[in-house]
């Protein structure tokens, strides 16, 4: 039974226009707390440093660090500064513009495994035709000029990663962390 048929069963409402839509604006504002570990990571970005954390049990190095090893469930309190070079472990070419993202399509979205890290950092790959991006490619971050960054610490401190031109990484160096 559709809305009009339902209304017809009530004599007083016979012939009434069914309500098919209500618009009720609602807004809630929040203050996000990144927490101690992510605050350290974000602050390091503003100084063009890549700060990860090592798990004392499994010794994996995570970036961005969240203060906890997600596989062991214990505190990661040893900070590790990672080098500005890594390896593409997977990628895709995005052809659909994301709402609110000020990036021209198509663009290349990738995992970059920084040397010494055991989890891929999400990043865009630029400075190269998309059909030349490949797994194993060595890449380095391109930092935005401090003036071009927002006042707030953010991942946007890195514009994108670009190829270094070095030979590809040995697949054994990243096979376990793909």
């Amino acid at each position: 039974m559709n809305a009009a048929e339902l209304l017809a069963t009530v004599p007083a409402l016979a012939g009434a226009e069914p309500v098919t839509r209500v618009t009720i604006p609602a807004r809630l504002d929040y203050t996000y707390s990144p927490g101690s570990a992510q605050t350290r990571f974000l602050k390091a970005l503003t100084e063009q440093r890549l700060l990860g954390e090592r798990c004392p049990s499994c010794t994996r190095v995570y970036i961005p660090a969240r203060g906890v090893c997600p596989t062991c469930g214990i505190v990661t309190n040893e900070q590790i500064e990672l080098p500005h070079i890594g390896t593409v472990t997977t990628f895709c070419i995005v052809n659909i513009a994301a709402k609110g993202l000020d990036v021209e399509v198509p663009y290349c979205y990738a995992y970059v495994l920084l040397d010494g890290a055991h989890v891929g950092l999400h990043a865009r790959i630029g400075g190269i035709p998309h059909d030349q991006v490949h797994v194993g490619q060595r890449v380095e971050p391109v930092w935005r000029e401090p003036a071009a960054r927002s006042d707030q610490p953010s991942l946007a401190a890195i514009s994108h990663f670009r190829p270094t031109g070095d030979p590809d990484a040995d697949p054994e160096s990243y096979r376990r962390w793909m």
Binding site: I24, L28, T31, Y32, S33, G35, A37, Q38, C69, G73
Partner: protein
């Protein structure tokens, strides 16, 4: 096919010897108005590690993990997945989450243990109210078309309930203030409570109304906090704690969603849940009631038929600390801790959810029969 076989295996295990389930560990944070330096997982991790340490268990020996929290508090979709970092979900674990107070996560874990699908369970919940305005956030649980657009906040709805109880002759502002004083003075002995100690009744009644007839003391504090509990069955529980707090019965019941169709001065869902949990089979010496507003303790006492012989909210209750999504599970934890310490033989724990005591859970816990 696989799921049918799994269900049969669980039923078979449940048919064997009776699987009694006990609380064997409990930990909670020191609840605060704001924990803006901590992420959610950083808030939760210390209590997870505390209960594991109490039992000597490691995460790989937990059979089932269940948590409770709310994305509306965090302001982010699937916020509980971030907290999962704290439980060491590798190799992949058996896990579930309820968008409710952790007391309902405990209920789910209890079912898993009763039906033989696990021997141990880790249950935790957390709520950070500080990122947003909790009294506005709670309006979003109301009917989205006819009620939520009016933004009746949690305090206004509790004021309606309180006025109804006063009009029915069940209480008055002085008696309600006495409840607040007793709760917050009890909390002086609870190092985890947020509001500890209170001015006397006369002084409180001189304060202005917040939402008439409620004054500030009738309302819970806004709290950030987390709680964790470990459950275990039978001899596993006995091996993990010298005095397990056995869950003799647990049940939860819900009333109509629209507050207007309910008698706000009574809690038939609490009464029914208590009956189903066996609460009326024998007197309880302790009751931990999840009553964020002063009038709700009175309504719950009446629904549960508690006499003065029962000590109510020795922890200070939700009037002393009210981390939303954790305060109900904390009641179960506090009741269990009394049994662990030998201070209670038979305790009742209650948790609530929704506006004006809409949904209620009752658990009955006992120490080992000597």
């Amino acid at each position: 096919m696989t799921s049918i076989q799994g269900a049969e295996a669980g039923a078979e295990a449940g048919q064997g010897s009776r699987r009694d389930v006990a609380v064997v560990a409990f930990a909670q944070t020191v609840h605060r108005r704001s924990t803006d330096r901590l992420s959610e997982v950083e808030l939760v991790l210390p209590v997870l590690q505390d209960v594991l340490k109490q039992t000597g268990l490691t995460t790989d020996r937990i059979g089932f993990t269940c948590s409770g929290s709310s994305d509306y508090l965090a302001g982010r979709a699937f916020s509980f997945t971030m907290a999962l970092d704290g439980v060491g979900a590798w190799p992949p674990i058996s896990e579930s989450h309820v968008e409710m107070d952790g007391a309902w996560a405990l209920y789910e874990a209890w079912v898993k243990l009763r039906t033989g699908q696990a021997d141990t369970a880790l249950v935790y919940s957390y709520g950070k109210s500080s990122p947003g305005s909790v009294r506005d956030v709670l309006t979003r649980q109301l009917d989205p078309y006819t009620l939520a657009p009016l933004w009746p906040d949690a305090i206004a709805l509790a004021a309606l309930q309180t006025q109804a109880a006063i009009d029915a002759g069940l209480t008055d502002e002085r008696a309600l203030a006495a409840t607040a004083v007793r709760s917050r003075r009890a909390a002086e002995a609870n190092p985890h409570a947020q509001l500890r100690g209170s001015a006397d009744v006369g002084e409180l009644l001189e304060q202005p109304y917040e939402v008439r007839p409620l004054r500030r003391h009738d309302c819970p504090p806004v709290s950030d906090g987390a709680v964790a509990v470990i459950l275990a069955v039978g001899d596993t529980a006995r091996a993990l704690h010298p005095r397990p707090a056995w869950i003799r019965g647990i049940d939860h019941r819900i009333e109509a969603h629209q507050p207007g169709v309910r008698d706000l001065t009574d809690s038939p869902s609490t009464r029914l849940a208590a009956a189903r949990a066996g609460a009326f089979d024998a007197p309880v010496d302790t009751a931990e009631l999840h009553a964020p507003f002063s009038v709700q303790e009175l309504i719950l006492r009446r629904a549960l038929g508690l006499s003065d012989a029962t000590e109510v909210n020795p922890s200070g209750g939700a009037l002393a600390a009210n981390p939303v999504m954790a305060a109900g599970l904390i009641r179960i934890g506090e009741a269990a801790a009394r049994i662990h310490r030998g201070e209670s033989r038979r305790a009742l724990a209650h948790a609530t959810s929704g506006p004006c005591l809409q949904q209620n859970l009752v658990a009955v816990l006992e120490g080992e029969q000597s």
